[in-house]
């Protein structure tokens, strides 16, 4: 997936625009019709998305923003306008900060091993395997198991006293790990549920990118005497950089919104007595639906988390852009470069500059899907 590829110039010649360089081929009514076709079609194509999105995505968001500025009990409804009081109240809560640390820690334990494992598995699959489809389908199996089910299965495996994992550790001679009492251990356990479900999925996306690497590059590397490992690092990795970035960003945003696994990790679902594994989204949920029923503060948490994710996304984007511009120049890049130059030349005289590059991408934001699936 060519995500976050360097900005492409807007296509300046998509049809017979008024300022198009080409002389009109038809005249009169049909020409006018054609012009409207060109002008309106783009809006027409994005409109189904925006209409539905306004209904099911924007309306809830705007509503939440409105709520965050009011005193608002979940059951009692709207109270007084309080400005930013909810925000300052949330920022003063130690649990809020603790939840941020937990979120970040779980995110590190899930994202990094996940990306490394996925890329390794993809590299293994990116060979001339016997029964290739079988192996490819096999790694995707965890993805089809519902998060609810994954949490229940792993809950049994990670039980402190009678769980399979501690039993296996016992065989190797390691003391049982307190998955529900040790902070770091609980993060590892939760991260492993996330990793289980998403590693194969990511591996397949990596594989797709690897399959697209031109064969000539490998041939050239072989001629240069590069071994397998060398080929992987000097040909494959640079070639799939955009995909790596895509996966890192999607797993960042997914990782910052972990919910189901924590809810189902113990019977209370609030991150343990010490809130040792409470993530920020769970904190948000607890403020709204738990004992406080404080919809106003919960809405403030939602917006704080949103800002944080956007911030991390920006940082991510800046870093990755630097990487992708400083990397070795591959043929793909130069071709893209050429194309851009060509396009610019053609568009010379046309107004405007290239459109802003999109911010890094998160995941499907469907308020109705489980958090797990939002990547």
């Amino acid at each position: 997936m060519a995500v976050l590829s360097p900005t492409q110039p807007t296509h300046r010649r998509g049809g017979r625009g008024a300022s198009g360089p080409r002389p009109p081929r038809r005249v009169g009514f049909s020409q006018r019709l054609g012009r409207w076709d060109v002008k309106l079609s783009p809006y027409l194509y994005i409109s189904p998305f925006f209409l539905l999105f306004a209904l099911t995505g924007l309306f809830p968001l705007g509503y939440t923003a409105f709520v965050s500025l009011h005193e608002w009990n979940l059951l009692g409804g709207q109270g007084e306008f309080v400005g930013l009081e909810n925000f300052s109240a949330v920022l003063a809560q130690p649990v809020f900060w603790k939840s941020l640390v937990n979120t970040f820690s779980i995110f590190v334990f899930s994202s990094i091993p996940q990306v490394l494992l996925a890329i390794t598995i993809a590299a293994l699959l990116d060979q001339n395997l016997r029964a290739a489809t079988f192996w490819r389908m096999g790694v995707l199996i965890p993805y089809v198991v519902a998060p609810v089910a994954v949490s229940m299965i792993f809950g049994r495996l990670f039980a402190d006293q009678y769980g399979l994992i501690n039993e296996l550790l016992g065989i190797v001679g390691i003391d049982p790990v307190g998955w529900h009492s040790d902070r770091i251990a609980s993060h590892v356990a939760i991260a492993s549920m996330v990793n289980f479900r998403w590693t194969g999925y990511n591996a397949l996306i990596f594989l797709a990118a690897m399959q697209a690497v031109p064969r000539e590059l490998y041939e050239a590397a072989v001629i240069d005497g590069a071994g397998r490992v060398r080929q992987f690092f000097s040909v494959t990795v640079p070639q799939i950089r955009a995909t790596i970035i895509f996966i890192v960003i999607t797993s960042t945003i997914g990782g910052l919104q972990i919910f189901d696994e924590v809810r189902m990790f113990d019977s209370t679902g609030l991150g343990g007595a010490n809130r040792d594994w409470m993530t920020t989204v769970v904190y948000l949920y607890d403020v709204a639906w738990g004992n406080q029923k404080d919809f106003g503060r919960a809405a403030a948490v939602a917006w704080l988390l949103f800002l944080l994710i956007v911030l991390i996304g920006m940082v991510n984007f800046l870093i990755t852009r630097r990487i992708s511009t400083s990397g070795p120049k591959a043929p793909a890049v130069s071709r893209r470069h050429t194309r851009r130059l060509l396009a610019q030349a053609r568009a010379a005289g046309g107004a405007g500059t290239a459109p802003p590059t999109p911010a890094p991408a998160p995941a499907p934001t469907d308020p109705t899907t489980d958090r797990e699936d939002r990547r």
Partner: protein, 304 residues
């Protein structure tokens, strides 16, 4: 500028062919077969991937007492598994077949809709020129980062005003589009669909929508297959929202899994048997369409 007049139809085929050529993967099969180590490693990965699902079969074949005593009650599933299946099928509390039908309807409709609308919007964002394009795209992407647990309440208000509570529309309509889908298709098409092909079709007099239909859509097919799969699975496994807008009389499969549990006692063998049953249809789909699907995904590979 391409001055070759080609019909829109050929342009579509050309797109696919050009993309295939760039991928240049066909000749890779001449490469030598990997060694035994690769298979061992992949086999390990596969074992780990399968184990949790296999574990559900083991627990489903056992009984609650044994499950409480042993971390792994037995190593092979046996016929008592079918008792759990029978319980799930026959229970009055559980509308298994209705849930299956509902899940299929929801997953199919949303997957089709997400693919269609995302491809349309993605094509527009990637290849067409219009005022506000940049800001709108940034906007779409930024909203993906919003934690939407809270959005549930306004959305519920909306659904109840539309009188959709308890009906499938309440799950389907919010799932008809995803920002992720639009972004995904935008990124894909901006790479995979050469401007020259659009040019060619337009020069040949094809209308905008015809150009989309015969040039963009074929070129988008690989990414669309992947998006369709993701959406399908996502809706199939979705729990939180359906649990709020639907009820036990008109459930989806994940709701069925949940209703196998009770407040004060969890019959793990029944629940695990249920989990397997709920996952089974997806596995069957995998076996039947998996080959094409994975092939489609692979064909959809874009250069990094």
């Amino acid at each position: 500028m391409s001055s070759v007049a080609v019909t829109a139809q050929t342009a579509g085929k050309r797109a696919a062919r050009a993309a295939a050529k760039r991928r240049g993967r066909g000749t890779r099969s001449a490469q030598r077969r990997p060694g035994r180590l690769t298979y061992i490693l992949l086999g390990t990965v596969l074992l780990i991937s399968m184990f949790p699902l296999y574990f559900t079969l083991l627990l489903g074949s056992s009984d609650p007492v044994t499950i409480a005593q042993e971390a792994v009650p037995q190593w092979l599933p046996d016929a008592s598994l079918f008792q759990q299946f029978a319980t799930v099928f026959e229970s009055d509390r559980i509308n298994f077949w209705k849930a299956l039908t509902n899940s299929v309807i929801i997953a199919v409709v949303t997957a089709a809709s997400v693919v269609l609308f995302s491809t349309l919007a993605g094509y527009s964002f990637a290849k067409l020129r219009f005022r506000g394009r940049g800001p709108l795209l940034v906007f779409v992407i930024a909203t993906m980062a919003v934690p939407t647990q809270l959005g549930v309440i306004p959305l519920y208000i909306l659904m109840s005003d539309l009188d959709w509570i308890g009906k499938l529309q309440a799950v389907i309509v919010p799932g008809l589009v995803t920002a992720f889908g639009v972004f995904w298709m935008t990124q894909y098409l901006s790479e995979a669909l050469p401007y020259e092909l659009i040019e060619a079709a337009r020069v040949d007099g094809a209308s905008m929508i015809r150009t989309f239909w015969s040039v963009a859509l074929p070129a988008a097919r690989p990414a669309a297959a992947m998006l369709g799969l993701f959406t399908f699975v996502q809706q199939w496994t979705n729990y939180f929202w359906p649990s709020i807008v639907l009820n036990s009389e008109n459930p989806t499969l994940p709701l069925v899994v949940k209703s196998l549990q009770a407040n004060f006692f969890v019959d793990y063998s029944l629940v695990m048997g249920g989990i397997f049953l709920v996952t089974l249809p997806l596995l069957v789909i995998f076996v039947f369409v998996g080959r094409q699907l994975v092939a489609g995904i692979m064909a959809g590979a874009v250069k990094g």
